[in-house]
């Protein structure tokens, strides 16, 4: 069963952290981001994050005759669902009421409710089955550019 865990509260990122950092993909979450745990059968498998983040993606294939492709970079606003190992805890602390208000959430409960809604909008339902990567920095981020 996949869900956001209402008991763990809402955290705020205080130091920039690369939630995905591989040779070809980088997703960096900036200070001020709010997040809550994403759990499956009671075990944390990731996080639902809201706030400023950046991505870079190298769609470049090297061949013997030179490289083909393109590199992308951009901002990720709104909710992002991260599935995978993470060191987010080490770069975060409990979010204050003011920090929640800054992101237009009236309370922790309101944030968690919206985070649950974001899961549904990305078709991640209670009966979805997700296998997460064990290592920090090697997961996946589900995000849409309409900020959902």
């Amino acid at each position: 069963m996949i869900e956001v865990n209402p008991n763990t509260g809402v955290k705020v990122v205080v130091d920039p952290i690369e939630v995905i950092s591989t040779e070809k993909v980088l997703v960096k979450v900036q200070p001020g981001c709010l997040w809550t745990e994403l759990v499956q059968d009671g075990r944390q498998i990731g996080a639902v994050i809201h706030g400023p983040a950046e991505y870079a993606f190298d769609a470049i294939a090297e061949t013997e005759e030179g490289a083909l492709g393109k590199s992308f970079r951009g901002d990720m606003g709104g909710f992002k669902i991260y599935v995978g190992g993470t060191d987010l805890h080490g770069s975060s602390r409990e979010a204050s009421h003011e920090e929640l208000l800054t992101r237009d959430f009236s309370s922790s409960e309101a944030f968690i409710e919206c985070a649950g809604g974001a899961l549904g909008l990305h078709n991640m339902h209670h009966d979805s089955d997700i296998k997460s990567s064990g290592s920090p920095g090697e997961g996946v981020v589900i995000w849409s550019d309409d900020g959902v």
Binding site: V25, L26, A56, D58, A61, E62, E65, G66, A67, L68
Partner: protein
């Protein structure tokens, strides 16, 4: 197909050319008759380099097609990627359908168009960067170490290569790669160098063997 009138014009032109050829022949024969025989000189066998430009452009086309084939072969191993970047396969199939440029069209390319492609290659540092990147993607630091240039001094040479599409920068790790176009441009530059060196060496060889007129044939 030609109509009768065009054929008639062509025949007329051919006849004029034939007459011109005959008159030139006669003129050359007259000059030979009137001129004193030159002093006998020791025969020096000189291999005259033949610069057949049409052949060169033809061989370039073939070379580029070969490169396209090699790239396709390389991509053959990337099954998934192959599908996704199919539209980037600008090689054999697309090229075959496109008529080759005539020599006259190549010669009509104006300097500004040539400069757009050749200009970014115009320094030893930039060529050194392309040569270094042939062995794979490199970070800015690695490029600094290799070229001996740092910071903005390296960027000054790197940016024109990136802007021209000869080098691509991976945003994730800031890795620089030479593109297929960059690789081709560097290879063509090497080829051009080889041809010019060969031509100039041949010219020097001929000049050395030519008698100096001031010495009246004494050499």
């Amino acid at each position: 197909m030609y109509d009768e009138e065009e054929l008639s014009d062509l025949r007329k032109e051919l006849e004029e050319i034939r007459q011109l050829k005959e008159s030139l022949k006669a003129e050359i024969a007259g000059i030979r008759r009137d001129s004193p025989r030159p002093k006998a000189r020791p025969k020096v066998h000189i291999e005259t380099p033949i610069v057949d430009l049409s052949g060169l452009t033809e061989s370039l086309e073939v070379m580029m097609e070969d490169i396209g084939d090699q790239i396709q072969d390389s991509l053959g191993n990337l099954h998934d990627a192959k599908e996704r970047i199919r539209e980037k396969r600008i090689f054999r199939t697309a090229r075959r359908d496109r008529p080759r440029m005539r020599d006259s069209e190549v010669e009509a390319i104006p300097p500004e168009r040539v400069a757009a492609y050749i200009g970014p290659l115009g320094s030893e540092e930039r060529l050194r960067i392309l040569d270094f990147l042939k062995s794979g993607g490199k970070t800015f630091n690695e490029l600094e170490q290799h070229t001996g240039r740092t910071g903005s001094s390296l960027t000054h040479h790197l940016n024109p290569l990136v802007n021209a599409g000869y080098v691509i920068k991976g945003e994730v790790r800031g890795t620089y790669y030479v593109t297929v176009e960059g690789s081709l441009a560097y290879r063509l530059s090497q080829w051009l160098t080889s041809r010019l060196e060969s031509e100039m060496e041949g010219r020097r060889y001929r000049d050395d063997d030519e008698p100096d007129d001031d010495l009246g044939g004494w050499y």
